[in-house]
Amino acid sequence: MPQFFKNKRLIILLSGIIILVALIGFSLRERDQLSWPEQFVKDTAGFAQMVFAKPAHLVSNLVENMRDLLQTYEENKILKERLDEYAQIKVKADRLEKENAELKALIDKEKDLASFTIHHASVIARDQDRWQETLTIDKGEVQGIKKDMAVITANGMIGKIKSVGKITSTVQLLSTVDRTNRTHVAIQGEHDIYGLIEGFDVEKQQLIIKQIPAEEKVEKGMDVITSGLANVFPKGLYIGKIEKVEPDQYGLTQTAYVKPAANFYNLENVIVVEREMTASEESGE
């Protein structure tokens, strides 16, 4: 027995494992805020990454531009066809917006679930071990970023803020396979059908919406947006289109597969969306 305790390495290894388990336990708790040493390391690393991100974005933009140039003719043809359509839609949207504003003024309601303010941010790093898909952006607590805000690009929603440092923060992408990564969504049919995004199919690269009631008619090609009812994201952020619907094991509910509209790669600028009003506030009125 004394021999056993003389083995210094074994003791180091054992105490190391105990400390590690304690550390993992500590960091797996539900935490609202990072501890300050973590924030400090994150921000310092973020600063170094910023230096590298700028030239990387430059090069990738250059490559992108070249590719665009080669496709210009084809693209131009398609765009011309769309242009007429666009003018019509714009006029209609303007009219509806005005009407909406008038109606809202009529009932004394300034904010609703869909209204939000935005913060622009640049991507400075991406998690390389791909178990959790996260990004680091160059805005943090100082610029008014808070936990659980939605993050979008021009094409659609990509994720939410997972943790916040002083000048950087971490974005958890929708494609993360994690049981806490849930988003309440509305499928836009004749009326809104609500569901919960419960994961990501790695092999198909599609989001999975489970627990849709069997009697609802969900079809391929329907649009999926955030519902705004879960107190986290504003209403109406675009997520993607339904790709496939199948009944679940017992036929009581349906499972839908959604192809995300946003590209999760080659991200440069993202928009952090701050909701102006919570659902509980609205019901309180």
Binding site: G16, V41, A48, Q128, E203
Partner: protein
């Protein structure tokens, strides 16, 4: 003496390159289902350990492990465990073997496999990942090994040359103090 200062600079550069890699080199370029994980920093640590200094390699493994835990995965203790442990095993293993580039390549791939499996194991236990073992091996482990081998082939020669020269300079200086 001044040449040593390049080691922390190299570590920082490798760290930043790794963090840009996934965003700009989408793996679907090759296949939609492949997951390629850059482990360039880890390769650098292996080189420091084998060709320069074991203790320094371990210290860097501890620091980079901690930083990666904090910056990327928000769970402390995963890289913090697997990086130093693997580096330690590598240094034990290389005691008996001659450090030529082929053997080091083999050892590096072995070490990366161990790290990947280790992290896969921890995440499976914590229920963060639910990837089937077969998918993990064929779509994550093999592409990762391939990509890192390519990186190894490109840079191993110059890294080896740099670290052996550092060691030579240091042993000469030590000799000077002893005489």
């Amino acid at each position: 003496m001044r040449k040593q200062w390049w080691i922390p600079v190299l570590v920082i550069i490798f760290f930043c390159v790794e963090s840009q890699f996934v965003n700009f080199i989408p793996t679907r370029l090759f296949s939609q289902y492949w997951i390629v994980v850059p482990r360039f920093l880890f390769l650098l640590l292996i080189f420091i350990t084998i060709y320069y200094d074991k203790k320094l390699g371990l210290i860097y493994a501890l620091i980079t492990g901690l930083v990666m835990d904090i910056v990327f995965i928000d769970i402390l203790g995963i890289y913090l465990f697997w990086y130093p442990v693997t580096i330690y095993l590598v240094s034990k293993l290389m005691k008996n073997w001659h450090a030529n580039l082929f053997i080091v390549a083999f050892v590096s791939l072995l070490a990366i496999t161990l790290v990947e499996f280790g992290i896969y194991g921890v995440f499976s236990i914590l229920q963060i990942a639910n990837m089937p073992l077969k998918f993990f091996v064929f779509h994550r482990l093999f592409p990762t090994l391939g990509a890192n081998l390519a990186f190894y082939i490109l840079f191993s020669y110059s890294l080896k040359k740099y670290f052996t020269r550092l060691r030579k300079i240091r042993s000469e200086e030590e000799g000077m103090f002893q005489s």
